[in-house]
């Protein structure tokens, strides 16, 4: 799966925020699965044409939001399945967490569309997929999302 991010100077959001939002999108869409390694900070900085500091800041905020975990010297991974589910549910009352809500807000999704995507995301978590079945599972969640919107 390509690690490329699409950053734009025409986008009013600062670069680090564009990185945060796109990585969140990629994780929620299932492109990057739980415990999968993220590109290293240096690698992402080089492939996206931004400074190392900018990527570092984005990773730190993603870690605070609970979407990724960084281990000293070992790089960053997408948060484990059960942790990610907890993170997503931490808002209580079955509401999406700040990270997910924030993602919805930034992506311009209204409540219904966000709910649909969040449900698809949780469905994806319930049924652990083998790597080979990943694309199929993702298409399923995409079509579900499509039907709700």
């Amino acid at each position: 799966m390509s690690d490329q991010l699409f950053l734009s100077a025409g986008d009013p959001r600062p670069m680090y925020q564009q990185i945060i939002d796109q990585i969140t999108t990629r994780i929620l869409a299932g492109d990057w699965s739980p415990s999968q390694a993220l590109p290293s900070i240096r690698e992402l900085a080089a492939s996206s044409g931004v400074s190392v500091i900018t990527v570092k800041r984005a990773y730190e905020e993603l870690e605070r939001a609970g979407l990724i975990q960084t281990r000293q010297g070992k790089g960053s991974v997408v948060t484990e399945r059960h942790d990610l589910a907890r993170t997503a549910l931490e808002g209580g009352r079955g509401e999406p967490s700040d990270a997910v809500a924030l993602h919805g807000e930034r992506s311009g999704l209204d409540g219904t569309r966000l709910g649909g995507r969040f449900q698809a995301f949780l469905d994806g978590l319930e049924a652990p997929r083998k790597p080979a079945a990943k694309n199929k599972g993702m298409n399923k969640s995409m079509s579900k999302r499509g039907s709700k919107t």
Partner: protein, 294 residues
């Protein structure tokens, strides 16, 4: 309204390069930015307008005077500055200013003095001792202080430090206080053009691919970010100049934005998340990569 210049069906062929069928007009009192990659034909077009080169076909008219027939008269009102113009290295800028003042009766000594201060140049120094930036500013001063009605500038900001760049851009903007004066300048620095130009002419491979008011470029181009099925291929969207996908994330750049595009894209499974305007640089690079089509 009279045109500062108008060219029609202009062609100029060199061994390895040809400028083809350029038709373009600059209304008096405005600034046009000439954009294009190296070798696109910017300098050739400027040289044809100054009468430094003769066209193989087509017409060049400056302030109503035809080139080359009436070029002696036309050249009085044209100021041209280009990096490859040479100054007399051992002579001072003062000497150069006196020299130009003798040739051109429109020379404005007060304006020259003001530009000297603005550009922070020592006029008694031999120009051979100037830095690159100082030399560029000296050439501009010599053109500007003649107060030509049409200023043609080839890459006036290339190689300047940020402070010198701003000084030059400010000096250019001030030229337009006089509504009879016009400027055509080339640059690869799209930020300069974005900031200063009223209209933009875009050259690619010796052809004029687009010419429009600056605002029209910004109105028409949009960058869309969205989610789409993996392996998405979009056919039947002629307005799309570029599409890139990484996993589910899709980035689409369109050259003629219509409000119904997100709805049409959703039929192809693309969910649009964001719609943002594009910088001129992004517009320029995207169109060059798409084969120069705008």
């Amino acid at each position: 309204m009279t045109a500062a210049f108008s060219v029609h069906g202009l062609c100029k062929r060199y061994d390895a390069f040809a400028l083809q069928d350029i038709t373009l007009e600059l209304p008096e009192g405005s600034i046009m930015g000439l954009v294009g990659v190296n070798g696109a034909g910017k300098t050739t077009l400027l040289r044809l307008l100054t009468g430094l080169a003769a066209a193989d076909a087509g017409s060049v008219v400056v302030h109503g005077l035809r080139l080359p027939e009436q070029q002696v008269e036309a050249k009085r009102s044209i100021g041209f500055a280009s990096e490859d113009m040479r100054l007399y290295r051992k002579m001072s800028l003062d000497w150069h200013m006196r020299f130009i003042a003798q040739i051109y009766p429109t020379w404005d000594a007060d304006y020259a003095a003001a530009l000297l201060r603005r550009f922070d140049l020592r006029s008694s120094q031999a120009v051979g001792e100037y830095s690159h930036g100082q030399r560029v500013k000296a050439l501009l001063l010599l053109s500007l202080a003649r107060r030509p009605r049409l200023l043609l500038l080839d890459e006036p900001t290339t190689g300047l430090d940020p402070v010198a760049r701003v000084e030059v851009l400010e000096a250019l903007a001030e030229v337009l206080r006089d509504e009879r004066r016009s400027v055509l300048f080339s640059s690869h620095n799209t930020h300069d053009i974005e900031q200063l130009a009223d209209s933009i002419a875009f050259l690619h491979g010796g052809r004029l691919v687009a010419h429009a008011d600056k605002e029209r470029f910004f109105d028409q181009w949009r960058r869309l970010l969205g989610l789409g099925p993996v392996g998405l291929k979009l056919e039947g969207f002629p307005e799309i100049a570029s599409i890139r996908a990484a996993g589910s994330q899709v980035e689409i750049k369109v050259r003629s934005w219509q409000a119904d595009l997100p709805a049409r894209l959703s039929k192809e499974g693309v969910e649009v998340q964001r719609i943002d305007p594009m910088t001129l640089e992004d517009i320029f690079v995207t169109s060059v990569r798409a084969g120069g089509q705008l």
